[in-house]
Symmetry: C2
Subunit: 453 residues, 2 copies
Amino acid sequence: MSQQAADAIRDTSAPAPSESPGTADRPADRAPDAPEEVRHAVGLMADRARTASRALARADRDWKDRGLHAIAASLDARRAQVIAANREDVAREREAGMGGALLDRLRLDDARVDALIAALRELAGLPDPVGTVVRGQTLPNGLRLRQVHVPMGVVGAIYEARPNVTVDIAGLALKSGNAVLLRGGSAAAATNRALLHLIRDALHGVGLPADAVQSVDEYGREGANALMAARGKVDVLIPRGGRSLIQAVVRNATVPVIETGEGNVHIFLDESASADTAVPILLNAKTQRPSVCNTVETLLIHPRCAAAPAVLRELSRSGVRLHADERARAIAGDVPTVPATEEDWATEYMDLDLAVAVVDDLDAALEHIRRWSTGHTEAILTNDLANAERFIAEVDSAAVIVNASTRFTDGGQLGLGAEVGISTQKMHARGPMGLRELTTTKWIVQGDGHVRS
Amino acid sequence: MSQQAADAIRDTSAPAPSESPGTADRPADRAPDAPEEVRHAVGLMADRARTASRALARADRDWKDRGLHAIAASLDARRAQVIAANREDVAREREAGMGGALLDRLRLDDARVDALIAALRELAGLPDPVGTVVRGQTLPNGLRLRQVHVPMGVVGAIYEARPNVTVDIAGLALKSGNAVLLRGGSAAAATNRALLHLIRDALHGVGLPADAVQSVDEYGREGANALMAARGKVDVLIPRGGRSLIQAVVRNATVPVIETGEGNVHIFLDESASADTAVPILLNAKTQRPSVCNTVETLLIHPRCAAAPAVLRELSRSGVRLHADERARAIAGDVPTVPATEEDWATEYMDLDLAVAVVDDLDAALEHIRRWSTGHTEAILTNDLANAERFIAEVDSAAVIVNASTRFTDGGQLGLGAEVGISTQKMHARGPMGLRELTTTKWIVQGDGHVRS
């Protein structure tokens, strides 16, 4: 490190740290570096991915779409093999104690294979983000400028034991012209091996490089660590899964990460909200698919909202457990509730549970949201224009909704086509990420001997 | 961490690591965490910045521009104080052995203060990026969508001892509606203190929150470490400085970082390049301002390029030291050269030095660029359309230039107005970053009781 650089991040009057600082000072919750041989092997894998990405970047849309259709056909033809491999994984994990939703997400049956095939074919029907011009002009000096979308290059994906993500991410990466390195978790190892094999065969069959899709699973957790540390070789890392997975990747990766998914979503029922709109919206936002990130988790109620009792009654009738504060319990009357604690405001239930609080006014609602929101989606139900405008302006979330269900925060619903995930960070992509968000841009400058004056 | 999350990043068959892994496994080159009291203090500072950022996000363009003019006026009125504080810094650092370009960059004189004032006034004249609509539509179901640019919120800046950056970043942040936390390095401490004071007074004077601009310098290197670790409180970190500063920030920060600046820039002189365009372009690209990142550092020559001898002769006549490989020395004839080693291909001289290599053909030029480029800017000088197209398609850099000087990779030149830096990464922003790149987006969804079906 140069003296200047060192100066900027340390105070020169403080004692200079040694190159290897004392262990007492080290952050305790970062993953250890992967052993040299694993880093080397993953590095070589990334180099092959880079070479493959160059071919993909030059492949036109027709060619990439042929690749997607070939993967779909291959998955159809080899479905028996894939499902057999999945049975192996499911049996082993059940034996090891996995159950419930986890085991369900691991399972791949005929219907789910059909859904994957349909998604690949739909992806082939979407426009190609590569080559789209962001902006362009001819400068007064005659220089021609354009900024165009180009693939990122090499994308890394770290996800939990959901084998459908393997096909999903491989398809999205291919369509956007990127090579991908996968880390799918050992619980789905047999299924992912079978899928990887057929995807690579399909790519090869249409003349695209098989190394566009590779997996580091053979190196286990060391492979994941090496992937997170492969800055310069991997352009972006997308973790898909629960909060703890995503936080572990954010904490450990030097490769840039796009955070997705966490949604502690709020709806504010303003004084002027009518039961006619509020009841259907709350039922839709809470009960349509409670396990996903755009489902509502906290309802905030204006003390004089006449629609509130009906809303609570209908939610309860639909099987929603209401975790209500004292004032909300008073509104609920004989509708069953459980007392809310502060923990409820922070909880993303992802189930038929809803935290309910009465807040004094719009200001108090905004304050509650600022404190507890994860920045995914918040909605206001109101007939007051000034309050709607303030809510839009002051809520700092990826999506701000007026008088509609929070379930609309979704790439498909918002017209983006396929969805990579929903980003809750502010860099690069915010909210639903489509194919375009898997690209970067390049400035192309064309002159006739132009020099800068 | 949930079992599923743990599974995805480690192999469950491997022994589970303890919560505090053995010190032997820890990465040795990460900065230690800042002490709790510094993290707490910087956290409170970030909270005040967040509150200030909310006021800034709602301030209209006129108000922010009044703030910029007030800072300019205040800098003008207190220039004697600022320059006196700077003399203190310069004297102390000269005493401590600083010299040359470093000492020059630290210095602030009347002319430089004038330049800062002019830049602030120019910034006030630029359009406001906040509120610009990225895309929008009304869906078939009547839902109204728009994705608009909004400020990031809280920006962190870590830079070397260049006090002009303090004013520069404060102005850019204000115009884009962001609050900023600065870490300017102890060498410029007195100057930065004087600047911070007058900036905050100026903001206060027009009714904008003074806490929109704060500094962590009082905590020295611990302040920088705390800033880098303030994920969730600081939205983005922009390091400005040399390679080692930027790499240290990238390695240590959990806050998302935008990498800027490193430019190992190439020009490929194709067979069909004419001396009429090649000579002025090379002279411009190398000699106009050799210390900046868009200056050319390596010239690659096609073996049959007739213009090459004239180009080398004119570069040498202009004082450029040519670090040439064997074949390039043969072309140079009696033009003085020094032998190039592999290190020259990797070097960003930022001086009147140029590495020169003869490459077999366009493929070899592309291969050389792939190996050594930092992804900033590369140019081809050619009259061959197919080669120009291949160069544009296959070079993976922020800017790809045909028949013009590499000096055009610059926010001002490309019409972006003020420049935050030149990003050499692919996430969020690539190439010159203007005010728009200091914003994120928000989806605004408006319905009339819409639910998802």
